[in-house]
Symmetry: C2
Subunit: 339 residues, 2 copies
């Protein structure tokens, strides 16, 4: 196989020849670190322009052992929560002159492991990751040892201690439940994502804790943990509404469930109190507007990225575990009294 023509991109050597100076002098001019006599600098610059030379970052990076690139592995880039987070990470990376490699693990632990290896092999300087449930922790531990800084977002990883940025899932959900309790509700259902997900589990715990604090007996029949994207989940939710002694309010555990609940209630013509965890677009324009406990995905991304860059800059302080608050936004649906 031919070594790929790679077109004819000029190298420093070409520039050096044309300007009739040494390779190193070109390097000095390009990087502007050391001083070069004005005469030669001008010749070099002219040669650079003439040839359209641009420094080959790959070669530079191989030499320096750094890539000026960080990686981001999330569940799903198409999910508004993660795309907002990714945008914030990108902005911080850009400010630090780093590029961003983004990948979605799609909740598949094997794929997540492969992505970590793939990004790592490309020599990223750091990695921000939402660890997929069921990942082999050794894959991540290996990164830490390989000198690649690691920050977890949205969930911690089992068995790997690294900087972590997450949201106060329990406290936020509990606040949502208390809001419904204050409106007079006593039978509040919790509708969350698959029980295997960390955030879903934490939010369920927050829900239970708030009920317990209020002295309300726990009723597991009011808890539904299921994938909001699965068709059968809709029926499970409707069954929840149709049982004897049905709930008068719903705490939905993420925005995908909130959206689905809104649609299902709408089809039913049912009006029942609702508070959703995680805000979503147009929640304020629905009828009634949906009250939510809002996270700040951009803040999660920004803090994670800033933490990562502080590590890359040499900060060797103790591991940080940052927990961001979640804010209740009353809009109408959560203030309805029980029927």
């Amino acid at each position: 196989m031919t070594p790929l023509p790679r077109s004819t991109r000029p190298t420093m050597n070409d520039v050096a020849k044309l300007a009739d100076v040494s390779l190193k002098t070109v390097s000095r001019v390009v990087n502007g670190t050391e001083s070069v006599s004005a005469a030669k600098a001008v010749r070099v610059e002219a040669a650079i322009r003439e040839l359209g030379f641009r420094r080959n970052e790959q070669a530079r990076q191989l030499r320096q052992g750094t890539t000026a690139t960080i990686g981001l592995i999330i569940e799903d880039l198409a999910d508004p929560f993660y795309s907002t987070l990714a945008r914030a990470v990108e902005e911080v990376a850009h400010a630090h002159h780093h590029a961003l490699l983004v990948s979605s693990s799609a909740e598949d632990p094997r794929r997540a492991e492969a992505l970590v290896r793939s990004l790592s092999g490309r020599g990223i300087d750091g990695l921000i990751i939402t660890p997929a449930e069921g990942m082999d922790p050794r894959v991540l531990a290996a990164e830490g040892e390989a000198g690649c800084s690691l920050v977890f977002v949205d969930r911690p990883s089992v068995d790997v201690d690294a900087d972590t940025v997450l949201v106060d899932n329990r406290g936020g959900t509990a606040a949502g439940v208390r809001h419904l309790l204050a409106a007079g509700h006593r039978r509040i259902a919790f509708v969350g994502d698959t029980a295997s997900l960390y955030t879903a589990q934490e939010r369920r715990i927050g829900y239970l804790e708030a009920l317990e604090t209020a002295g309300i007996e726990r009723d597991d029949n009011l808890v539904l943990m299921a994938n909001p994207a699965a068709p059968e989940s809709g029926e499970a939710f409707l069954a929840l509404l149709d049982r004897d002694n049905p709930p008068t309010a719903i705490l939905s555990g993420n925005n995908r469930w909130s959206v689905r609940v809104v649609r299902l209630l709408r089809q039913r013509g049912a009006s029942i109190a609702l508070v959703g965890f995680d805000d979503f677009e147009l929640a304020d324009a629905l009828e009634p507007p949906v009250s939510v406990v809002a996270q700040d995905p951009a803040a999660v991304g920004r803090l994670a990225a800033e933490l990562l860059f502080s590590r890359l800059a040499g900060d060797t302080g103790p591991r940080q575990h940052i927990q961001l608050g979640a804010t209740l936004i009353p809009r109408g649906s959560g203030e309805r009294a029980p029927r």
Copy 2:
């Protein structure tokens, strides 16, 4: 500055020493291309496991002149249209064992140029880009010459001929307008993004063409071109509603305007026919549900990526200019009769 310890990641040389074979033999085992005697292969594999060796992709890429990485530059990763597109690109890239570098140009032509240079310097094999308005075409042309395949999405680039995937903005908007005409409207407003944007301009033209075909006299007072995110745009929109002989229907030119229009109409308590270009989440759950002309951002991303990979695989056929259709989805808001 110390040359960064880069921790102690083992190299092929380390593996070779431990297995007591030559560097080249390790290379052969790692890449599995040429055959190696079983005995040595076993020793090498054991050494690889023991050291936790993983091939340094950077070095490999420098040698081979390919990075197995493609770049994607869009306006804003946090915008649902672009994040969905990006997700689709990522999926195709993953299927081709390529990583994806993502960057948002934030509508800033200088930033977009810097991003192109930055990604290009990292040696990406191909680039998918939504060219920012006002970019220097030479920056992009240079990529083509440097042997980096280029695909434009969502808009074409001036002065640079490359593969392009875009949506039928004119036809889609015209279909939306015809839908409103069929419901009996004669005074239809067009509310689009800043006039300098390609898609906004195309949609405005589609709107005008549909009116002309229907024999309706053009009224430029019914056209508003403004940034949907700017505060003053809201007032401009309300002024449109308050003028003498106001419109009985609105064609909104993108999803950000649609969302804003929905909110403004809601605040006003006004009920007026509406069709939006580009679908958005929960459009079906609003009151009334919003009729839209839907694009398929995932299809745009997928086709662009597939086109790019076919080029990388050696397809040297003529430039392709793919135009995807847009689909009218009637939901209620566009079927209202004029008052």
